[in-house]
């Protein structure tokens, strides 16, 4: 394999990874604070993608409006599901929350297919050629995608590290008992959490819709790599989630050069296993102390 192919594969991995970093961050935040793996994450993305399509159709073609609309929509649904489902399950085992989130995933997706059907949609955007630097190809669209993802990530990191709500959020993520003992009111944190998680899934879905095609299974299919990336980075660690999913995506793309596309899932899974065996807390997670 020549280095140009590898460089292109790495670039592609970075783009996909950055895109998936948004929902991956949602997964890791929900995991750290609400304490369960949210299987509805993928279908929130799907919802975001379809909202983009719908808003382009009904409100006109502006892509920025459509993407913002998608984020609002998924944030609203995410909050709705929190108030209806996940809040009531706060005291229950994380498996029951996981199962409920699978239910939410099915409900969201089937509502979409009821109205939009099974067929594919494409986001209405002009096709552009890639810039070619001696064989290394970079797409302007990809740059926009990475840019949008970066801005969103920066915003959330700022909130998390600079505002009181963000500090409370991290405190709860670190140790729910301690946070409860020191009297942190969780309500506002939870609302913020689910709104951000929803909006990020929506943004991720919309960007993915722009890059690929919009299908009902769009987000659901990505759950597995996203969870793998989150675990790789260390469950509950926001920085870890971003770096984990980017690493994971690069590994998948580069692997498909060497082992063939079918085995990239297998290979990614093996990488994950090895990392976990050598460093059970993930790349950026802290060791869990038993008491």
């Amino acid at each position: 394999m020549d280095w140009i192919s590898i460089a292109n594969a790495v670039i592609n991995g970075v783009v996909i990874g950055m895109l998936l970093a948004l929902p991956a961050l949602a997964i890791t935040l929900v995991f750290g604070i609400a304490r369960f793996p949210n299987a509805a994450t993928g279908d929130y993305m799907t919802l975001g993608a379809y909202t983009t399509i719908a808003s382009q159709m009904f409100l006109g073609g502006s892509i920025v409006v459509a993407v913002l609309g998608a984020m609002t929509m998924t944030a609203a649904i995410s909050l709705l599901m929190y108030f209806w489902v996940f809040r009531a399950l706060a005291e229950r085992s994380h498996v029951s929350r996981l199962i409920a989130s699978i239910g939410v995933a099915f409900a969201v997706r089937s509502t979409i297919t009821f109205f939009a059907g099974q067929d594919q949609y494409v986001v209405d955007l002009p096709l552009v050629r890639a810039w070619n630097f001696g064989g290394i190809r970079i797409l302007p669209t990809d740059l926009y995608i990475v840019g949008a993802a970066l801005i969103a990530l920066l915003l959330v990191f700022c909130v998390m590290y600079l505002t009181p709500t963000g500090r409370r959020m991290r405190a709860i993520a670190d140790s729910p008992e301690l946070a409860a003992a020191s009297g942190i009111r969780a309500r506002r944190v939870m609302i913020f959490l689910w709104a951000v998680a929803g909006a990020f899934c929506g943004l991720g879905g919309a960007l993915l819709g722009i890059k690929a095609v919009v299908l009902p299974e769009l987000g659901w299919e990505l759950l597995m790599p996203m969870f793998a990336g989150v675990i790789l980075g260390g469950i509950g660690s926001p920085v870890g989630a971003v770096l984990g999913i980017v690493t994971f995506s690069i590994a998948q793309e580069v692997a498909s050069l060497f082992v063939g596309p079918a085995y990239k899932v297998v290979l990614a899974f093996l990488i994950l296993l090895c990392v976990l065996l050598l460093r059970p807390q993930g790349m950026f997670g802290r060791p869990i102390a038993a008491r």
Binding site: R286, A289, A290, R291
Partner: protein, 253 residues
């Protein structure tokens, strides 16, 4: 030679040094107390001694064998058992079943035996049930035999945990705050049972905040503060130690 000797143990969490070269000994059939303020490292020391937390350095020697690297369940099988600060009963199981689980090396835990040695298992179960009844009688738990363990009072749960340890036939037990959250009447009874156990030849190391009760039953005491052992000896001597008084901020004792 001591039954359990802990030598120069360290443990860290992140940058925080929870145990700082701690050494401690429990002799054969001895009854020893361990006191210290919150965060002094007592429970951490238990966890290192029983293998729940790896030791950063130092050694744990039990019955003359170095068990520093031995996994938790192997240490228990050698006769070194512990209870927890917060009782860890099997809440969805009856008190009777909780105690039945306790017995070591049951044939019925082997899947092959379930098929090929059903008679032997039945006999073993009957024998164990007999022992469970003895233990329940000893700990005054017979009345609640068929209750779900999760429904017991705090004190009963502590008794149940001790009962499970007895099913193990251990040589040395480490009790982590056995009196915490227990009503005074039951504390009497608990003390009594612990002393009785010790009289039967089981070495006991107790962490306890209730210094008055502890001083009454243990002949020897260790005091810890900020990850170090700061004093040891008879209860009177330890409690009189200026470092200990300092750690407890004078007034409490």
């Amino acid at each position: 030679m001591a039954l359990l000797s802990i030598t120069d143990i360290t443990a860290r969490f992140g940058g925080f040094r929870a145990l700082d070269y701690v050494s401690l000994e429990v002799g054969e059939g001895e009854l020893v107390g361990l006191i210290g303020t919150n965060g002094a490292g007592k429970s951490t020391l238990f966890s290192v001694a029983t293998g729940y937390i790896p030791a950063g350095s130092g050694s744990v020697v039990f019955q003359g064998e170095n068990i520093t690297e031995v996994p938790v369940h192997q240490r228990v099988r050698r006769g070194l058992a512990r209870t927890f600060q917060v009782p860890r009963e099997f809440s969805h199981m009856t008190v009777f079943d909780n105690l039945m689980v306790g017995a070591r090396d049951q044939r019925g835990e082997k899947l092959g035996a379930l098929v090929f040695a059903r008679g032997a298992i039945r006999q073993e179960e009957e024998r164990l049930a007999e022992r469970v009844r003895e233990v329940m009688a000893f700990l005054n738990l017979a009345r609640v035999s068929d209750e779900l363990a999760g429904k017991l009072s705090g004190g009963q749960k502590k008794l149940l945990e001790i009962g499970r340890l007895l099913m193990l036939e251990p040589k040395c037990i480490l009790l982590d705050e056995p009196f915490a959250g227990v009503n005074p009447v039951l504390i009497e009874q608990l003390c009594d049972r612990i002393v009785e156990l010790n009289r039967r030849g089981i070495a006991v190391l107790i962490i306890e905040h209730n210094l008055a009760e502890l001083a009454r039953i243990v002949p020897r005491l260790y005091a810890m503060d900020r990850g170090r052992v700061i004093a040891s000896g008879t209860p009177d001597a330890v409690l009189a130690d200026p470092g200990v008084r300092e750690a407890y901020m004078g007034g409490v004792i």
